[in-house]
Subunit: 232 residues, 2 copies
């Protein structure tokens, strides 16, 4: 299955690119497909490519020297990843990219990317705008981690995930997420145990329903209330 320029336009930083530029991008990139739990790259690897996810889902995570890790974000189709390393010459990736399901991505060679950024100013501009939104998100999450209790952070994470990747199950209007307790813990800077206890409590209250690597949100409104810290 080959990729068309029309599809590449779905990538926000390429939405203003010309047909010629899109063609050039396609010509100078390769498709890489990996299976669930495999890695596109590891933190510290030489940043050779910028990736565009075309199918599947991947997570970006960062580890500290002692191996503990945090989830920075999950990437959905037609989003970029690996950009932080690839836009700078001679850089390494600051994070690790692991597939949550079988995934394919378009890999754009960083040398080519640099040339294109020089000759196509609007791409630099759009990329800068995208970067500013990432900074804002990271700053907000940083503040959240610094000032909010675990309960609020987990509720917030569920709300955020529901907005990004939630699948609405028509039948009963619940929103289904596919993440393990461990995943959620790494997203919110807490532990698997604490997340499990919270989920149990919320299930008792009818706010969510849980299963193995499944969370169904029944009462989003109650989650928002918890996230706001109005609870107790």
């Amino acid at each position: 299955m080959s990729i068309t320029t029309k599809e590449i336009k779905l990538v926000v930083v390429f939405q203003n690119a010309t047909e010629d530029e899109l063609q050039l991008i396609l010509k100078n990139s390769i498709v890489r497909s990996i299976e669930e739990n495999e890695f596109f790259f590891f933190q510290g690897d030489d940043a050779q490519y910028l990736y565009i996810l075309t199918s599947g889902q991947i997570k970006l995570m960062q580890s500290n020297p002692h191996g503990q890790q945090v989830n920075l974000r999950t990437i959905h189709p037609w989003q970029m990843f690996g950009a932080l390393g690839a836009v700078r010459a001679e850089a390494t990736y600051p994070a690790t990219a692991q597939a949550l399901e079988d995934s394919s991505a378009l890999a754009i060679e960083s040398g080519f990317l640099h040339k294109m950024l020089e000759t196509s100013p609007h791409i630099s501009f759009d990329m800068m705008t995208l970067m500013t939104s990432y900074i804002q998100e990271m700053q907000a999450r940083y503040r959240e981690l610094a000032t909010e209790r675990v309960e609020q952070r987990v509720a917030n994470a569920l709300i955020r995930l529901a907005g990004q990747s939630g699948i609405r199950s028509e039948k009963d209007a619940g929103i289904v997420l596919s993440f393990s307790r461990q995943d959620v813990a790494e997203m919110t800077g807490t532990t698997l145990y604490t997340v499990s206890r919270l989920f149990s409590e919320w299930e008792r209250q009818g706010i969510i329903e849980t299963g193995r690597e499944k969370i169904k949100i029944i009462k989003p409104h109650d989650l928002v209330r918890i996230a706001d810290g109005l609870e107790k």
Copy 2:
């Protein structure tokens, strides 16, 4: 005291700008001076200007709905601030900028900035590169907050501050920082009390010397050891 184009070149995103562009920037900007503890802007204000600090020192902080705040970064002369709001049309500042001492800044009107970014691609590019470095820093701090103990985070903050703004006192080779316990607490997501207790302990061990809004680092090496979590 007027500002020269040579000085503007000290700003990293303008280091590749032409003399003409620098002149234009100077022509389309005004100087704003404020006193210690005053504000350049508040979180939520319309982002009318991008600022370049010319003298003094300011801190960027973010508050949550309940008024608790975190320090995002401190800005030193010839660094930009307010960029996150100003580069996007119709945006508001995501943080508050408060002067730590009497300060002056060059205020560049955001409308003019947009025009300049369109016509001067290398500025977009340099700004994007700067933004990527901010993201990396925020991601690293986020991970730190999520995985490290308070002790390590405070030690890390001191090391970071020493690198940025520390003044080497020739006499005894100590590095002096001017921050209150409260400031450090807001930088590391902890409380004034905990920072005070840590400082007391470290002073007992001869790692630092403290005073009112002063921290002198005596043994940086020991701080690094604590930051690495090798302690206990």
